[in-house]
C-alpha cells in the first residue's frame, strides 16, 4: 500500500528539543523537534487521546486541514498515532502566534505596517476558505501563526463548519460551534445571538475586525468583560475601535486617571484613516454591510505593500525561534 513514507510516521525519527506551548485546553502539547533524517525543524502537536473527550474535534481539524492547500493556512505534514497520542507534524512557525507576540513583546499593540501585512495574509487565507465552502469561526490572534520569513498562517480549523450541507450551498448556518468559550470575544453578534436568521461567512469578517483591534491595542476588545455584557454590547451595535489619539476622548482620560490608565504612547499615537476604515467596515452590526474577504483585499491599504519593511524587521526586537535558540533552551 502506498502511504506516507514511513519515516515521517515514526515518532523515533523526531528529536524533541523543547516545549513550545499548550493548546486544546491543556490537553495537547506543542513541541519543537528536529526531523532527524533531514535535520528540518518542525512543530509536533501531541493530543492526549486518553484525556480528550471530544476526539471528533481532533479528527475533524486534521482531516479539514489536510484538505486545504494555501500558503497562508497551516500545513500538516503528517498525522499519526503514537501510544495514546495523536501527533501532528507541521512546519515550525518561528515567531509563534500573534497572541504570543503581543504578550511577550508588544503589550500595546503592533505597528501599523505589521498589522497590514498580517491581516492581508489572513484575508488571503480566509478568501480561499470561504470559496472552498467553510466558515472558520475562530479567527483570533492565537490562531494566526508567523513563520520565520514573516508569513502569517491561519490555524485553529477545528471550529470550522461547512457551508455546503445536504448537497446544497447554504445561505445561512445555524449550528453553534462546540467548546468555543475561549473564542466568544471574537465572534460576531449574529453567531452569538443564535436566532432564526443564522449567520454566514461574513461572521468571520467581523472576527477580522476584532483581530485588527487585538493586534493594534495589544488585547482584544471585551477582554475581562462578562460574557453577557459582551453579548449585549455586540447585539446593540457597539463597535469597538483601534485606540489612538482620534478614538480616545482626551480630556476625559486626563481627568479621570481612575480605573483605566492609558499610556501616553497610546494616547499620542495615530493609526491611518485607512486602518480605522477597514476596522469599521469589518465590525458593521449587519453582516450584509460587511465586505467579503475578496473585497477587503482590494482596499487601498493593502496596495503598495512592497514599500513596507518585511515583517521580521517590523517585529524586532522579537526574534524567530531559530535552530540555535531551540538548542539553547534544552
Amino acid at each position: 500500500m502506498k502511504m506516507a513514507s514511513h519515516r515521517e510516521n515514526n515518532i523515533a525519527n523526531y528529536q524533541i528539543i523543547s516545549i513550545l506551548g499548550h493548546c486544546f485546553n491543556q490537553l495537547a502539547v506543542v513541541q519543537l523537534a528536529k526531523f532527524i533524517p533531514t535535520g528540518a525543524m518542525v512543530a509536533i502537536k501531541k493530543f492526549d487521546m486518553d484525556k480528550i473527550k471530544e476526539a471528533y474535534l481532533v479528527e475533524s481539524e486534521i482531516i479539514l486541514t489536510r484538505q486545504l492547500n494555501h500558503p497562508n493556512i497551516i500545513k500538516y505534514i503528517v498525522a499519526f498515532v503514537s501510544g495514546p497520542q495523536v501527533c501532528v507534524v507541521s512546519p515550525l512557525m518561528a515567531y509563534g502566534s500573534c497572541r504570543d507576540l503581543l504578550s511577550r513583546h508588544f503589550n500595546e499593540g503592533l505597528c501599523e505596517p505589521a498589522i497590514i501585512l498580517i491581516i492581508r495574509d489572513v484575508l488571503d487565507a480566509l478568501d480561499y476558505i470561504h470559496k472552498k465552502g467553510y466558515i472558520h469561526r475562530a479567527i483570533r490572534g492565537s490562531h494566526i501563526l508567523i513563520s520565520d520569513n514573516g508569513k502569517a498562517c491561519l490555524a485553529g480549523l477545528r471550529y470550522a463548519c461547512p457551508i455546503v450541507l445536504n448537497g446544497k450551498w447554504q445561505r445561512s448556518i445555524h449550528s453553534f460551534p462546540s467548546t468555543t468559550e475561549r473564542n466568544l470575544n471574537w465572534l460576531s453578534p449574529e453567531l452569538l445571538e443564535q436566532n432564526l436568521k443564522g449567520y454566514n461567512e461574513k461572521s468571520d469578517i467581523y472576527s477580522i475586525g476584532i483581530v485588527v483591534c487585538e493586534l493594534s491595542n495589544g488585547i482584544e476588545p471585551f477582554a475581562g468583560m462578562s460574557k453577557t455584557l459582551m453579548l449585549t454590547e455586540k447585539v446593540r451595535g457597539y463597535a469597538p475601535s483601534i485606540l489612538d489619539s482620534t478614538t480616545i476622548p482626551r480630556d476625559e482620560n486626563i481627568e479621570s486617571g481612575g480605573d483605566c490608565e492609558i499610556s501616553t504612547n497610546i494616547l499620542n499615537r495615530r493609526f491611518s484613516d485607512d486602518l480605522h476604515e477597514i476596522t469599521n467596515l469589518c465590525l458593521h452590526r449587519e453582516a450584509y454591510d460587511r465586505p467579503t474577504a475578496g473585497q477587503l483585499l482590494t482596499h487601498p491599504i493593502f496596495k503598495n505593500n512592497k514599500r513596507l519593511l518585511p515583517l521580521p524587521e517590523l517585529l524586532k526586537p522579537a526574534l524567530p525561534l531559530s535552530d540555535r535558540v531551540g538548542y539553547d533552551t534544552v
Binding site: M3, A55, I63, N69, F80, V86, K132, G167, K168, E201
Partner: protein, 336 residues
C-alpha cells in the same frame, strides 16, 4: 464564446469537454498540462451549475437534469473516479462535490443516480480501493459515506470482498486516513439496521475474526474506536442474534475482562459497556458462567473500585451497581 461574463456552455458541451480532458490526462501525452487546466475549469463549471456560488443561484432543475443525464450516458463519473489521482488537488475535491450532489438527485421518490450506480458497481469498488492511495483517500471517503446513506449501495459494498479491506484501512499509520476509513466502516455497519443485522448474522465468523484483530490492534485509536463500535453493535436490538452469539463465546469474555484492566481509562470504560452484556445475559452458557464464578470475588472487588470518580454519571453507576449485584448472586448450575 463571449469575451466577458459567464460562459454559455450547456451541460452537454461541458460534459464532453471534461471527458476529453480526462481522457488526455489519462493518456499522459504532451498536452497533459493543458488537459489538467481543462479538467479543473470544466469541473468548476459543473460544480457551479449544481451548487451555485456565493453570488449566483444554482442552475434550473431542467439544466441539472440534462447534466445528470449526460453524466450517466458518458460514463464520466467512473472515468473521473478512476483518474482521481491524476487530477489536481482542488479538482479532486470538486469531483467529490459534483458526485455527492448528483447522488442526492431525486425525481419524486426515485434516486436516479443511485439506480445508475447499482448498474455500475465498479464506481463503488473503485472508490473503496481509493483508501489505498493517500492522495485520494479522503476524497473517496466523502463520496463513499454519501453512497452509504443509500441502502442499495451500502448493500453492494457490505457484501463485496473489498469490504474486508476496511479492517486494514482503519489501521493504517496515517491518522487522518485511518479515521476517515473508520467513519465509513462504521456508517456501513450501522446505518441501515436491518441490512446490517442480516449482514452480520450471515457473515458472523468472517466479520468477527477480522474484528478481533482490530480489538487487539497496537494502534490505540483503532483499539478504542473498534471497542466502542462493538459495544454499540451489540447493544442495538436489531443485532440481538449477533449479540447472543457473541456473548456465548468464552474467548470474547476473556478479552473484555483483560481490556477492563488496560492502562487506558477510556478503553477500560468502553470494555465495561461490552462486559456488562455478558453479565446481564439471563441465559449464560456454562463456559461463561464458569469464568464468572471462578472470578466472582475478584470481579466484585474490582468493580467496587472501578472508575469511582464518575460520580456524576448516574447511568454508569446504576449499571455498575447492577453488575456487582448480579455477580454476587451468581450460583453454579444445579444438576449435571
Amino acid at each position: 464564446m463571449p469575451l466577458f461574463g459567464k460562459s454559455t456552455k450547456g451541460p452537454a458541451e461541458v460534459v464532453k469537454a471534461l471527458k476529453e480532458a480526462v481522457n488526455s490526462l489519462e493518456k499522459g501525452d504532451k498536452k497533459a498540462e493543458k488537459a489538467q487546466e481543462d479538467v479543473s475549469k470544466n469541473l468548476v463549471l459543473i460544480k457551479n451549475m449544481l451548487y451555485g456560488t456565493s453570488d449566483a443561484e444554482p442552475q434550473a432543475d431542467i439544466i441539472v437534469a440534462q447534466l445528470a443525464q449526460e453524466l450517466y450516458n458518458s460514463n464520466l463519473l467512473l472515468l473521473l473516479i478512476q483518474n482521481l489521482n491524476r487530477i489536481d488537488f482542488e479538482g479532486k475535491k470538486d469531483v467529490a462535490q459534483v458526485f455527492n450532489n448528483i447522488l442526492r438527485r431525486q425525481i419524486g421518490t426515485r434516486s436516479p443516480t443511485v439506480e445508475y450506480i447499482c448498474t455500475k458497481p465498479e464506481i463503488l469498488f473503485t472508490l473503496m480501493t481509493g483508501y489505498e492511495h493517500q492522495e485520494i483517500a479522503l476524497n473517496c471517503g466523502t463520496m463513499l459515506r454519501e453512497c452509504a446513506r443509500y441502502e442499495a449501495l451500502a448493500k453492494i459494498m457490505l457484501y463485496s470482498d473489498d469490504f474486508y479491506n476496511f479492517f486494514r484501512y482503519v489501521e493504517v499509520s496515517t491518522f487522518d486516513i485511518a479515521s476517515d476509513a473508520f467513519s465509513t466502516f462504521k456508517e456501513l455497519l450501522t446505518r441501515h439496521k436491518v441490512l446490517c443485522a442480516d449482514f452480520l448474522e450471515t457473515n458472523y465468523d468472517k466479520v468477527f475474526s477480522h474484528y478481533q484483530r482490530l480489538l487487539n490492534s497496537e494502534n490505540y485509536v483503532t483499539r478504542r474506536q473498534s471497542l466502542k463500535l462493538l459495544g454499540e453493535l451489540l447493544l442495538d436490538r436489531h443485532n440481538f442474534t449477533v449479540m447472543t452469539r457473541y456473548i456465548s463465546n468464552p474467548e470474547n469474555l476473556k478479552l473484555m475482562m483483560n481490556m477492563l484492566k488496560e492502562r487506558s481509562r477510556n478503553i477500560q470504560f468502553e470494555a465495561f459497556h461490552v462486559f456488562k452484556v455478558f453479565v446481564a445475559n439471563p441465559n449464560k452458557p456454562k463456559p461463561i458462567l464458569d469464568i464468572l464464578l471462578r472470578n466472582q470475588e475478584k470481579l466484585v472487588d474490582f468493580l467496587m473500585r472501578f472508575h469511582t470518580d464518575r460520580a456524576e454519571d448516574e447511568q454508569f453507576n446504576d449499571e455498575k451497581a447492577y453488575l456487582i449485584r448480579q455477580i454476587k448472586e451468581l450460583k453454579p448450575i444445579q444438576g449435571h
